[in-house]
Every structure is written in C-alpha cells, then in structure tokens.
C-alpha cells in the first residue's frame, strides 16, 4: 500500500514537473513563464523529499522558489510589458525544426546511455538511516569533506553580488551620459 502511494505521488510530481517545464518554454509572456517555473521547482521539491533529501527540498523551496524567483519577477515587472514573439509563430522555421530534432537526439542519447550502462542494477538501493538528508548530516559534510567547495561557493556568491552592483551602476552612468 505504501508502495502504491509513493508511485502515485511520484507520477503526479513527475507529470507536473514536465508539464510546467514545457509551459515555461512555451508561454509568450515571461511573467507566466516565471510562475510556471515556481510550479516546476515545487514539484521537484516533492521528488527530492521522496529521495530522502529533506534539507535540499526545503532549500529548493526557500532559496529557489522564494528568493531567486522573486528576483526574476521584480526584473520582469521592472522591464514592463515586453512579450516575446510566440515561440512557434509563423510556421515551423528550419531553425525550430532543427532545434527540436537536436533536442530529441539528446533525449534519445540519454535514454540509450542509461539503458546500456545501468542495465538493471540500479534497483538495489543502499540502506539509509533516519538521519539521511537531515540538515545536521548535510551540514557536517559541508564542514568536513567539502569545506573547500563551501568556501569557494561563498567567494563566488560575493563576486556575483559585486558584479550585479557594478552592472547596475554602470548602466546608470551610461544613462546619465546619454542624457543631453
């Protein structure tokens, strides 16, 4: 019975994940695309919970679905109404056809590689304890085995923040120059 419920939750989350991803790339208005991406992130958080990643799921909803998407929505609101052309408008151009073929080829390659290399031996999962994926165990790994990655990530975040400020103030200086 528990098995069945997990399958139902998995199928629902997987379906909404793919459907909202397709919605992101097919809406004309970036605002609706950003809202669909929030749905995509939420359904991915459900999948992370099924995989035992409680801390990552919480971080996904708070950091990604909260902070990053609010930043996106602010920028979309700041830029105003600039709807893109409909992605499939004007009949299938050769570029769009080529792109879809290339994407289909990547998907086929991934699936074939998966089938060939994993065979069927991915079905034996390791046994995990109750603390798997809890903030304590993930944090312990961050501060022991992956300390260098942790510190480098903080430097990257600092550089990105400085870069965002520089890009914003540079644009303002150019705007002042352009003004007569």
């Amino acid at each position: 019975m528990a098995n069945f419920i997990v399958w139902v939750v998995w199928c629902g989350a997987a379906f909404s994940c793919i459907a909202s991803a397709l919605a992101v790339i097919s809406f004309r208005n970036p605002f609706f695309s950003a809202l669909s991406l929030i749905g995509n992130l939420a359904s991915l958080a459900v999948l992370y919970l099924l995989l035992g990643g409680e801390f990552v799921a919480a971080g996904q909803v708070l950091v990604y679905g909260g902070a990053v998407m609010v930043m996106f929505l602010f920028v979309i609101a700041y830029l105003g109404d600039r709807t893109d052309q409909a992605p499939w408008a004007g009949g299938p151009s050769w570029q769009a056809v080529g792109t879809v073929l290339a994407a289909g080829a990547i998907l086929a390659e991934v699936l074939v590689a998966l089938a060939l290399t994993t065979g069927g031996h991915l079905s034996h999962e390791a046994h995990i304890g109750r603390s798997f994926g809890s903030p304590a165990s993930v944090g312990r790994l961050f501060l022991t085995d992956h300390l260098l990655a942790f510190e480098v990530t903080s430097i990257v975040l600092l550089v990105a923040a400085v870069g965002g400020v520089v890009l914003g103030s540079h644009a303002r200086a150019l705007e002042d120059d352009a003004r007569p």
Binding site: V6, P30, V56, F72
Partner: protein
C-alpha cells in the same frame, strides 16, 4: 526503497534537461533563456540527488546545494545584464545582439 527506482528519476532528469535545452535554443528573449537554464540545472540536480539516494551517501545532496548557490549567482549576473539592456533600450532579443560595443 518502495516506489520507483533511480532509473526512473534519471529518465525524468534527462527529460527536464532536454526541455530546458529546447527552451535555450528556441526562445529569443534572454529572460526566458535564463529560466530555461534554470530548468537544465534542476534536471542535473535531480540526477545528483537520485544518485545520492542510490549510494546512500549525502555527497550528491551537497553537490546539489552547491549547484543551487552557483545558479543563484548566475541569475544575479544574467538579470544584471538584462536590466542594463533594458535601461539602454536595447530590444530584448538575443538574435539582435550582434556586436560587443561597450
């Protein structure tokens, strides 16, 4: 584990990645290209977390959190560029950005 095994999650991760790649290649608005890159990163994250569950070790989850932090910084820089484009009244269409004038 009860429920789907890791191969199902990997198939889903591959489909997400391909959907994001399709968005990057087809769309011309830089905003939607950034959103599609987020979908690609999330596909990779799903694979990392699925393997973390498979091997019973949280290293994959640590990588996924690092990927989320890098994605946040990428969004900051990308949105900064888009705002700079919007302030200079450049049309938001990556096909029309052909020169690298400062």
């Amino acid at each position: 584990m009860h429920g789907p095994d890791v191969a199902w999650y990997l198939v889903l991760a591959g489909m997400l990645f391909v959907t994001g790649a399709l968005g990057v290649l087809v769309r011309r608005s830089p905003l939607i290209i950034l959103l599609s890159v987020e979908i690609m990163l999330n596909g990779a994250n799903l694979a990392l977390i699925a393997f973390a569950r498979h091997y019973g070790h949280e290293d994959g989850q640590v990588f996924a959190i690092a990927v989320m932090a890098i994605a946040a910084s990428e969004v900051v820089v990308g949105l900064g560029l888009i705002v700079a484009m919007g302030r200079r009244d450049i049309e938001l269409d990556v096909d029309k950005l052909r020169t690298l004038r400062g």
